[in-house]
């Protein structure tokens, strides 16, 4: 697998939900090679010490897009950047979704920021000849990502202010291929309904390249592996969901 480290100019950003933005970066090699479910590790200088991982949202020409939420100083800084600045971009990293040809239907189930890998997943699933159902859930209508890509599109909100009243998992139809991304408790619910689902999960991450062992994912068979290297995509039934931290608190002090 090829890996690239590049200074990627930030050329555009657009708001897609109440606190959710898509940022476009020029990173030609990554744009040409990234698979759905892979991520890039972005670093700012000056900025936080460690890079931050972002699923690649879309790849268009020589650009990649990442989805981000205003969760910490790093992401706030990225959003505040003018369009003349660059970020250090390392990627593509991790193992993406395995989209086997010969299947007929796929359902992409996302919660909140978990929509991040779905446009690429829709692209790759369509390219493999699958019919794609897009199911996206959020707390409230304002939090739903305004962009979607599916042959059928279902929105769900916890408070019922838009679409299905309830979770994305509850709203989703069955399909031969289930791909999911969202908060870890949501992915635990995915695992209960579809043990064979492919889920992209989020952990705290140090290096992104497999050496720091900081992004440990507890496995049902015992032990840990690395979200950055063996993941971030897992067979839902393989993860010990009870031992995976359910919420990530990015400290404002970092």
């Amino acid at each position: 697998m090829s890996l690239f480290l590049t200074d990627a100019p930030v050329i555009a950003s657009r708001q897609v939900a109440r606190a959710m933005w898509v940022v476009s970066l020029v990173a030609p090699e990554i744009a040409a090679t990234v698979k759905a479910g892979q991520f890039v590790n972005l670093g700012l200088s000056p900025g936080p010490l460690l890079r931050r991982p972002f699923s690649v949202y879309r790849a268009i020409g020589d650009q990649i897009e990442v989805l981000l939420q205003d969760v910490g100083t790093g992401t706030a800084q990225l959003l505040a950047m003018g369009e003349t600045k660059s970020v250090s971009c390392l990627g593509p990293l991790g193992h993406g979704f395995e989209i086997t040809p010969g299947l007929r239907t796929a359902v992409l189930v996302s919660g909140g920021l978990g929509v991040a890998p779905m446009p690429l997943a829709a692209r790759d699933a369509r390219a493999a000849g699958l019919q794609v159902a897009w199911v996206h859930g959020a707390r409230s209508a304002h939090d739903l990502c305004s962009e979607s890509d599916g042959d059928s599109v279902i929105m769900a909100t916890d408070d019922g202010t838009a679409g299905f009243a309830g979770t994305a998992v509850a709203a989703a139809p069955d399909a031969e291929l289930v791909i999911a991304c969202g908060p870890n408790p949501m992915l635990g619910a995915v695992a209960a309904r579809w043990p064979e689902a492919q889920v992209a999960l989020e952990t705290y991450m140090g290096c992104g390249t497999g050496v720091c062992l900081g992004c440990a994912v507890p496995l049902r068979r015992g032990g840990y592996d690395r979200a950055c290297t063996e993941g971030p995509v897992y067979r839902a039934a393989d993860v010990d969901w009870g031992a995976l931290p359910s919420h990530l608190h990015y400290a404002a002090s970092a």
Binding site: L50, G206, C215, A243, A254
Partner: protein, 286 residues
């Protein structure tokens, strides 16, 4: 050189221009496989990071089978960072690895609790640190380095103790023990509660301790602690170190070691020194 725990077993880090490597120190290893600690294992702090990985590793047998054969083919040495819960553990691990092609030497991690002595850390006690060093020294003629912990009252005492016990060099220093609280969950950010602090946050502390160690002994001291750039490495070298290890910087930039290496070379050339050996060292022997 690459600091232990930040470079895996040398096979993982992509992109690095490997001509910059004088040596690699492997991820710390015990005799037996270890799963490591539960997540969260890392937490970023101002200019640094806390980690509590728990020395996850495959154990000596897998290291010998899977990694050492690869090391044997490389043109830079790989030293194995060794760990144990008792003096005899360290000795047994050394005996197992000594003579294995690809194993070029040992770096003893003395920041481990001594289970036989009620969990007291080897590195905090001059006699325990010396006992571990002797146990390793007796079982190998390869280079034996000792990685010193900063969590001591007088690092010079420990440095002299392990020098007398047969250490060939010292790595100074390991991470500082720290803690950070999650103010929303009302508990530590790391599942292990405490972690080792690394990164630029510890650099002035590490320069000071490396300097104190260098003043205490005649063997080489290898500086380590928060080196991100060549200028940082030069601080350790001027403070009396013979070489440096780069650690956390590799997490940020996989090619950091090469950047540090090339920056030192450029500095030496700019200053008009023929080699690094001509760099003035600040080592008053008062």
């Amino acid at each position: 050189m690459a600091a232990s725990g930040t470079f895996g077993y040398g096979t993982e880090v992509p992109l690095l221009d490997r001509r910059a490597l004088a040596a690699v120190i492997s991820k710390g290893i015990f005799l037996k496989p270890r799963q490591g600690t539960a997540p969260p294992r890392i937490a970023e702090t101002p200019s640094g990071m806390l980690n509590a990985i728990g020395l996850q590793g495959p154990g000596a047998d897998v290291l010998i089978r899977d990694y050492a054969p690869q090391w044997a083919a490389w043109d830079f040495p790989v030293l194995v960072n060794i760990n144990g819960e008792s003096v005899s553990d360290y000795g047994e691990l050394t005996a197992r690895l000594d003579g294995v092609p690809g194993v070029a030497g040992f770096e003893i991690n003395i920041s481990c609790p001594n289970v036989e002595q009620g969990g007291m850390y080897f590195g905090n006690d001059p006699s325990a640190a010396a006992a571990v060093t002797e146990a390793v020294r007796r079982r190998t003629r390869l280079p034996v380095w000792v990685k010193l912990t900063p969590m001591v009252a007088d690092i010079g005492v420990i440095a002299r103790a392990v020098e007398s016990a047969g250490a060939d060099a010292l790595s100074a220093v390991n991470t500082f023990v720290g803690m950070s609280m999650d103010i929303n969950a009302y508990r530590p950010r790391l599942s292990f509660r405490t972690g080792g602090l690394s990164g630029p946050a510890i650099r002035p502390l590490a320069v000071h301790l490396a300097h104190q160690a260098a003043r205490a002994v005649d063997i080489p001291v290898i500086g380590v602690g928060g080196i991100m750039r060549a200028e940082d490495a030069l601080e350790f070298l001027i403070a009396g170190c013979t070489a440096v290890q780069v650690g956390t910087a590799t997490f940020v930039n996989p090619n950091a070691i090469a950047a540090v290496h090339d920056g030192i070379a450029a500095y030496i050339a700019t200053k008009g020194f023929a080699s690094l050996a001509e760099l003035p060292r600040y080592l008053p022997r008062d």
